[in-house]
């Protein structure tokens, strides 16, 4: 019989809890097991999976990364963990890392359509449009599928063809309404077409399919802010930040929600922190200038505004037409 406080006992109990959907409790048991055996690969893997299931992708990625080198290269478990790790990277906005991870697999298994779909997603989100288009071609040659329509829609979103993207994504949703990303991407296309209410409905559908979809949660936060539903916006932003800890865009929106709801000092402090971390974040400097003026801090406002003008002029000078 396994001792309940042994590594195996704790790991088994954790697995049982995870099976029941009690991931936080499972994570606690795995944590105890790792204090006894810090490098136990099975416990690390189970812990990573629990983090993954609960949308804590940074923690999941770190554990998957520590497990991966211990697996036999190109074995089925190696493949599974690689794909999960790539999915974590995509969800965290680390698209290049996902591409680098998936490329060797793609060379080895060019007919694996699941892999092609994952790689295509990473390529398109990383704006590697030519390579992404080639992957889409490969998928399309296998016949029509929700995945191929989703990738086509993503490619059209990238090129700001919102009407085309909407049409592709609506077809994808008809083919497979539970395919993750479909409704979230359709929401983005509808936003591009200024159909905010319809977009919000799609983002909510996405969260029914995948409660951890960052784009859907984040866009709902922005839409709630625009409609001055600040508490709702804050909840979505807190969720966004748990999905992408430290994300500058989320921190920026959090500050602007505080400003819009009258918490000027708090918003100002948040923006000051943010521009220290991301000095080229133009929008943050813009909002900071605005809040300085509202706080009657004219000199600070003038300084930020001058900085924005300089950043804008530099961006203009880099445009081809300016040369």
């Amino acid at each position: 019989m396994t001792h309940p406080e042994s590594v195996d006992g704790l790991a088994n109990y954790g697995a049982a809890l995870a099976h029941e959907g009690q991931y936080d409790e499972a994570i606690a048991q795995y944590g105890k097991a790792l204090t006894i055996a810090p490098d136990n690969p099975q416990v690390l893997l189970n812990l990573a999976l629990s983090y993954y299931k609960t949308g804590r992708y940074t923690q999941a990625r770190d554990r998957f990364q520590s497990v991966l080198p211990r697996l036999q290269p190109y074995s089925p478990p190696h493949r599974q963990i690689s794909f999960l790790l790539a999915d974590c990277d995509i969800r965290l906005g680390q698209y290049k890392a996902a591409v680098e991870l998936l490329d060797p697999w793609d060379r080895k298994s060019p007919d694996d359509m699941g892999l092609a779909y994952l790689l295509g997603t990473a390529l398109l989100k990383d704006k590697q449009l030519d390579r992404g288009a080639k992957v889409i071609d490969r998928i399309l040659r296998k016949g029509e599928s929700a995945e191929s329509r989703l990738l086509m829609g993503t490619a059209k979103l990238n090129s700001l063809d919102f009407t085309g993207a909407r049409d592709e994504l609506q077809k994808a949703a008809e083919l497979n309404p539970t395919l993750p990303e479909v409704h979230g991407s359709l929401g983005l296309a509808l936003l591009g077409l200024s159909q905010a209410d319809a977009a919000a409905a799609e983002f909510r559908k996405e969260l029914d399919v995948d409660p951890n979809n960052f784009a859907a949660v984040f866009q709902l936060a922005i839409l709630a802010k625009q409609e001055q539903r600040f508490e709702e916006s804050r909840k979505y932003l807190a969720r966004s930040l748990s999905l992408r800890p430290g994300d500058a865009a989320v921190l920026y929106q959090s500050a602007t929600v505080d400003i819009a709801s009258g918490k000027l000092d708090e918003g100002c402090r948040e923006l000051e922190e943010l521009v220290k971390l991301s000095p080229d974040f133009t929008e943050a400097h813009v909002s900071l200038a605005g809040v300085y003026y509202r706080l009657k801090r004219k000199e600070d406002g003038d300084r930020e505004r001058a900085l924005v003008r300089r950043l804008t002029a530099e961006a203009q000078a880099r445009q081809p037409a300016a040369k």
Binding site: G164, V286, S287, K298, V308, T312
Partner: protein
């Protein structure tokens, strides 16, 4: 669908402020929104047509109502125009209802050409079917934003056009109890910029989200705030220092000289001229397809051949 009602302008303000009420009645802001059937442009032009490729558009008056129709020769969409946006200084854009939703017309009327042409943003939109050729579906959230600026939505029922309470918050309470109101004439430039910018776009709106091209010449508070002479705390450079919102905007360039001289009368003054300052320092810029030259409010020494500062 939002419910829209029309009511007469608040007459109470005019009782004590007759001069402002009278002059404001003639401004484009006052007529920023009209029921399409009352549009002076559509009354004066009972038959308007346009053709592009297979599509033919027409606005014609039928039984006193402006009717918008589009056909490709096989199919057609016909709808009564509901609302006319804009007084017509530059042009006028229309909303129509189709299957219970509001659409922005693909074509607008342009005063300079006295004809229909593509509404800003519509030229490059796909027109793969008759519905797309007719117009762009307006989401309820966008409808709210349209009417927020073009109507007095602060009152119920809604009053078309920008009237007193749109800018003078608390006017209704002031009428009933003579409560104190904010004296906008005493507000610093930044505050006024943000007030006007709520509709004309603030510096923050454009600096953060663009457009960063000649398209932003329409957004005067953004352009003005980029001027070297802009001072957030100085009333002499506020929107209302040059433009009385209760009156029609003057197009006499010399009429603005005094505003420049309020600061530049002493010290370093222009070496080229002492009048018509705005003709050089606020050059006109045209947005392709809009048939109107906007005055660039980014006050500067504009040198020939210099790129448009974004």
């Amino acid at each position: 669908m939002i419910l829209l009602f029309l009511a007469a302008a608040v007459p109470a303000c005019a009782t004590c402020h007759p001069a402002e009420a009278k002059s404001h009645a003639a401004t484009p802001m006052m007529h920023a929104l009209t029921p399409a059937r009352d549009s002076a442009i559509l009354k004066a032009n009972p038959q308007l047509q346009y053709q592009d490729g297979n599509y033919r558009w027409r606005i014609a008056r039928e039984a006193g109502e402006p009717v918008y129709s589009v056909t490709d020769g096989n199919q057609a969409i016909t709808a009564k125009l509901q609302w006319a946006f804009g007084f017509g200084e530059m042009g006028q854009t229309y909303l129509y209802e189709h299957n219970g939703a509001l659409y922005e017309s693909t074509l607008s009327y342009y005063t300079l050409t006295q004809s229909l042409d593509f509404t800003p943003g519509h030229l490059d939109r796909p027109r793969r079917n008759i519905k797309e050729a007719a117009g762009r579906l307006i989401d309820p959230a966008e409808v709210r934003r349209c009417f927020n600026c073009h109507a007095n939505n602060k009152t119920d029922p809604m009053i078309a056009g920008v009237q007193c309470e749109h800018c003078h918050t608390g006017a209704a309470a002031h009428v009933t109890s003579h409560s104190k109101m904010t004296r906008l004439s005493q507000a610093p430039a930044e505050e006024i910029s943000n007030l006007c910018g709520a509709c004309h776009r603030t510096w923050e709106d454009i600096a953060a989200s663009g457009p960063k091209s000649v398209l932003n010449v329409r957004f005067q508070p953004y352009r003005l705030a980029n001027s070297k002479c802009y001072d957030a705390t100085d009333r002499r450079i506020s929107c209302t220092a040059c433009h009385d919102p209760h009156s029609v905007t003057s197009h006499q360039t010399a009429s603005y000289d005094g505003k420049c001289m309020a600061c530049h009368a002493e010290g370093k003054v222009c070496s080229v001229a002492r009048q018509d300052c705005v003709t050089c320092h606020m050059p006109k810029a045209e947005i392709p397809g809009i048939h109107f030259a906007f005055t660039d409010h980014w006050i500067r020494v504009a040198r020939p051949g210099e790129p448009y500062p974004q």
